[in-house]
């Protein structure tokens, strides 16, 4: 260990030292020659403008920067000015900050020395595993881990400038002692311990966890201790590390709306990969709305037939399964939401021709502004038993496709009382809505083998306010609170004992701030929320700005979720809208550190953005590249 530390470490600059000494001598010579020449040249031209090009003196001189760690900060210098050549990523990894994202919640100790590694020289050894199923998943997750490393390795620019010696083998040993269920469940223990240490010419990484998901998080953290050194043209890994880690909140989500605009499967898979890189664990798939219904269910294919935008804008069950499979290996549950009873549209218009009566009312009715919040309108018919039969089949197929049976999302927001009043003037529409919700819950239980999911989410709405809230069962329902953070509803729901997932519209809605897409409104929600604002929102803390006020006893905040609604977003623009802002939320929910967007957070998030790009995610930059090159200088 000592030997390694000396040879490699303090580390990887030492690797470059010999080369650098030679380089230095050469550069000094060159610089001296240049200066002399320049002086001569300058004298010649002393009073007149330079007509002889400087160029002839300095051709072939390319920019080359080196970074040195001084006072726990990486400083950029021209390579010629120092004796060692160190790349920015290597300096960042070895200088002060952990560069981990999200920051672990337990003790962390990291070596300040690095060794070269190769993606092809990693091996997996499963030490203990509660089931073959878990072992299989560990192997597949390990393959994904290696794919990520290979993708990183591929970014190597060919001009290898330093020789850093032979790559170390890496042995990854995983022990899972606990659940034999590989799914991300509401009570899954996501904690893990990671230790990395050198053993002769091998690095040994030990990951212990109580679930497959925990072990996967350990692999994710391990991958963050490995980086590409562009000057060495090689992957480097810290030579030693220990990390103990567990999330602060157990529901850490991102919502994607694929109904307002359709997103191809590839974009969804990439989003899931990016979520995994940040240890988010819930992909909330708002798959249908009044605008479209792209999910082609075997149990109700008419919905997509009538509701999809077109033949190219459909998710087949095979595609959904592939997404679910990918997500599972990434430690993510796929929570499909078929919103009801409002936010439905032409997908439900085929009832009469199939002899089922009206499944929905107000579908695409005009003027729409009288019956819904945005065009087109549509609401299920709460008195038609066929609606519930269909819902039961939809719910059953969703549970079967996703394998998620402990959490479900019924939708349930923005019901137009006026739409229903036109057809049911004998009943208070709020009672209809409540009745609908109870019946939907009932068929959900039947669809789930007679058992209510542990938490069935509803969007906050008039129904989740008094006097209706009291009529909902706190044991069954959870509330996804999307009102503004200062609205009383967040408190009210929690005070009443409901589990809640927080998605405050004024902070965690990623679609806000892009103006209105219609003539007749003066703007969608706004303004745009920066990653810093997203990061600093801690509604569960007393003193927090924009918080919910005094924290109540027994509040059950399950976690939070960023919402990417897609009225003004389509394939191609997704990544830059969602990332890196959602990474900021991921750390808030995983680590929930008391400090806000401090300097360290900028630097680590900047590194995380580079990781996301290496995975093919088009994340937006945090700032000018100069600020990346000069950490702390822009703060």
């Amino acid at each position: 260990m000592k030997w390694c530390g000396e040879a490699v470490g303090r580390g990887s600059p030492a690797y470059f030292a010999r080369v650098a000494r030679l380089r230095r001598a050469l550069l000094l010579l060159a610089a001296a020659a240049c200066t002399a020449a320049a002086l001569l040249y300058w004298r010649q031209q002393s009073d007149d403008r330079a007509t002889r090009p400087l160029h002839s003196l300095y051709t072939g001189v390319e920019p080359e920067w080196t970074w040195v760690c001084r006072n726990e900060r990486c400083e950029r210098l021209p390579a010629a000015e120092t004796s060692s050549l160190q790349s920015l990523p290597t300096c960042n990894m070895l200088c002060a900050s952990t560069q981990l994202w999200p920051q672990p919640t337990g003790p962390v100790s990291l070596a300040t020395a690095a060794v070269p590694v190769r993606a092809s020289a990693f091996t997996l050894h499963i030490v203990t595993s509660p089931s073959g199923h878990v072992s299989d998943h560990l192997e597949d997750a390990f393959s994904l881990f290696l794919e990520d490393l290979k993708a990183l390795e591929k970014n190597t620019i060919s001009d290898k400038r330093s020789d850093i010696g032979p790559a170390h083998e890496v042995l990854v040993r995983i022990s899972v002692n606990g659940s034999s269920d590989v799914r991300m469940l509401i009570d899954t223990d996501e904690s893990y311990k990671l230790s990395l240490r050198p053993k002769r010419n091998t690095l040994v990484a030990d990951i212990t966890a109580h679930s497959f998901c925990g072990a996967r998080h350990g692999l994710e953290t391990l991958s963050q201790l490995i980086w590409l050194d562009p000057y060495a043209g090689s992957l480097l890994a810290l030579e030693a590390a220990t990390v103990e880690d567990a999330p602060r909140f157990r529901y850490r989500g991102l919502l994607l709306d694929t109904a307002r605009n359709y997103f191809p499967v590839g974009e969804i898979v990439r989003t899931i990969d990016a979520m995994a890189a940040c240890k988010l664990n819930t992909f909330h798939w708002h798959i249908s709305d009044s605008q479209s219904f792209p999910l082609r269910l075997n149990s109700a294919p008419q919905l997509a037939q009538h509701g999809a935008y077109g033949p190219g804008a459909v998710y087949t069950t095979e595609e959904v399964r592939a997404i679910v499979r990918r997500a599972r290996l990434r430690g993510i549950r796929v929570l499909i939401e078929v919103d009801a009873p409002a936010h439905v549209g032409r997908a439900w218009s085929w009832g009469p021709q199939a002899g089922l009566g009206q499944l929905a009312y107000c579908v695409e009715v005009e003027p729409w502004s009288a019956y819904c919040g945005e065009p087109p309108c549509g609401q299920l018919n709460p008195r038609n038993p066929h609606v519930y039969e269909l819902l039961e089949r939809i719910y059953a197929e969703i549970i079967q496709l996703t394998g998620v049976d402990d959490i479900f999302h019924l939708g349930g927001d923005e019901v137009s009382e006026r739409c229903w009043s036109q057809y049911f003037n004998d009943t208070d529409p709020m009672d209809l809505w409540l009745d609908f919700t109870q019946r939907a819950m009932h068929v959900l239980e039947r669809a789930n083998g007679g058992k209510a999911p542990e938490m069935t989410l509803l969007w906050s709405s008039r129904l989740t306010r008094s006097p209706y809230l009291e009529r909902l069962d706190t044991k069954k329902f959870g509330i996804q609170v999307w009102g503004a953070s200062r609205w009383p509803e967040s408190r009210a729901v929690l005070d009443a004992g409901f589990r809640s997932v927080i998605s405050h519209v004024d902070v965690w809605y990623l679609d806000c701030g892009f103006g209105s897409w219609r003539d007749s409104s003066d703007g969608h929600c706004g303004p745009y929320r920066s990653w810093q604002q997203i990061y600093e929102h801690r509604p569960w803390v007393d003193e927090s700005v924009g918080g919910m006020g005094q924290v109540g006893d027994g509040w059950r905040v399950e976690g939070g979720e960023a919402c990417q609604w897609s009225e003004q977003l389509a394939a191609g623009g997704l990544d830059a809208r969602v990332w890196p802002r959602t990474a900021a939320l991921a750390e808030r929910l995983w680590s929930d550190r008391a400090e806000g967007a401090a300097a360290d957070v900028y630097l680590r998030l900047d590194t995380q953005r580079a990781r996301l790009m290496a995975r093919g995610v088009r994340a937006a930059p945090l700032w000018p590249r100069w600020c990346t090159h000069n950490p702390h200088a822009c703060l």
Partner: protein
Amino acid sequence: MVIVVIGSVNLLKFLFHEILQVRMDWHWTLIVVLVQLAQGNGGNGVDPTPDLYEPSWVYKCEPEEGCHRSERTKPTAANSSFMVFDSLDVCRTVCGHFGGLWPRPVTAVLSTQTVKMHPNFLRFTLLDAPVETSEILVEMTHVITANLLAECNGNVTEMVATPVIVNIAVKSPSLELTWDTDEQYLLDVENTVDNIVVHISAETVYGARHALESFTQLIAPEFSNQYQCGLRIVTGAKIRDRPVYKHRGLVLDTSRNFIPMVDIKRTIDGMAATKMNVFHWHVTDSQSFPLESRRVPQFTKYGAYSANEIYSTEEVRESIRYAQIRGIRVVIEIDSPAHAGNGWQWGKEYGFGDLAVCVNARPWRHLCIEPPCGQLNPANPAMYRVLRDLYRDIAELVPKPALFHVGGDEVYLGCWNSSEEIVSYMKNKGFDTDIEGFIRLWAEFHAKALQIWDEETMAVGGQQQHVLIWSSELTQPNRIENYLDKNRYVIEVWEPLSSPLLIQLLRMGYKTISIPKDIWYLDHGFWGKTKYSNWRRMYEHVLPRDPNVLGGEVAMWSEYVDAQALDTRVWPRAAAVGERLWSDPRGGGGGFAGAEPRLQRLRARLRARGLRPDAVSPEWCAQHDARCY
């Protein structure tokens, strides 16, 4: 059960027959879902009749509204109207007064009929064009052909042998692209018995290019499935067109973050699609200096982010040509005397003294608007010598007559005031060291820089031209006439809408380019208290109609954008400004309702050409024109 199966087989046959008859939309997969058949659902259960569970629509062109999605009905003689289309793109191309044209031409008469065509049978004839123009015209037609192929993802599978003959007539032999270039054109499409004949007539090659662009916009793709695609062209058209403003630009900042050349070219493609004509390249700033200078390689050595983040002289030359073929002039801006730092910090090392001051100074807050700081050192004659070398490189690079942008914004007097060298230089010159004294120093810099630019321009055989400069303290009405000659400078006014400066400068007789930052800055809405302008807000803004308003620009500053986010920030919003500057539609038909369907078509076109424009609405709205009010 047997009966059911037989029944469904019959149905299958029928439906298959229908597929063959009716052209289906793209991504058609011949999967018939018969899942529910076997499932015992009980008497009152949902028992869907066997059906093709594939979404499939037609689009109807409704007069005064646009294209609307509707159910595909069984084809009968009664409902087979020519205003019903399988392809939304084809519907848009013929529906409405201006079809799928963006920007809107001055006048257009379009047929509602279309016929199939294939790029292999597209022939361009330079009917009446000076020999000097033929090379560039040929290159322009190659772009057009490539764009048409792109509409079908590069493969037009529907073969039709109908010849499409495009006759191009150009009067002027000049290839100059300036504010005086005549960009108007006439475009006629006629359908004869066995071919389509297109007549293009323009004063200049650039007018002809715009005509060719409009010609491609009379053509739309029609996918019958994922792999089968054909093109349809409007059978008749008469278009008369000319721009309202002669300067229609986009600023791209490649200094805060580097933008690879491939992304710049794609941005130029987008500009060409909207007939914008100035690519204003804010290539350097205090953060980085990615532009190679043959004479002063230190600029990139000390200023580029890395060896891979440099625009070589060859690449710049090629991009200028690339833009020219697309009717776009590249205007290079070397921002000065402020916004210059990295790339200029090597003077001392080479015995030239400080070429710039405050470079990367910390703390930065009193020395510049954003880190890192840096301002050229006007007290150092060596700085002017280096600047001259840089200007010479640029003068050699850009086509004549050269249009250059000297920057000239956001000078922090406090930075200069912090330099003893500069303060003592001012004292020797007899300048006061108050605000007006520093303003004089600033103006002196621009005077010297202009003189150098003129000399270098003329040394490479050019003539004195206007240069562009940003509005600033120096261009305030009480100062500008003392310092900036209205016959030499065109002022690019970026003050917010509420500022009277634009009107004041016009009254004083200055030529201007308008770029109101609170409307036409594409980076706003992502930082500080700035507000995002969506395409509607950008489109709504109108410029004064004054001969001294040469036009406008839309600006993509890159603090929070690099190649990853570029397209979605720029498009389709920049296109809204493109139409404002080309057509400047006012009154009836100029509103969003008239523009949005055409913009949706433009967005599809940009996607086909490889750009990643943002969505402007849910797709439902794109499928139901005028329903999302």
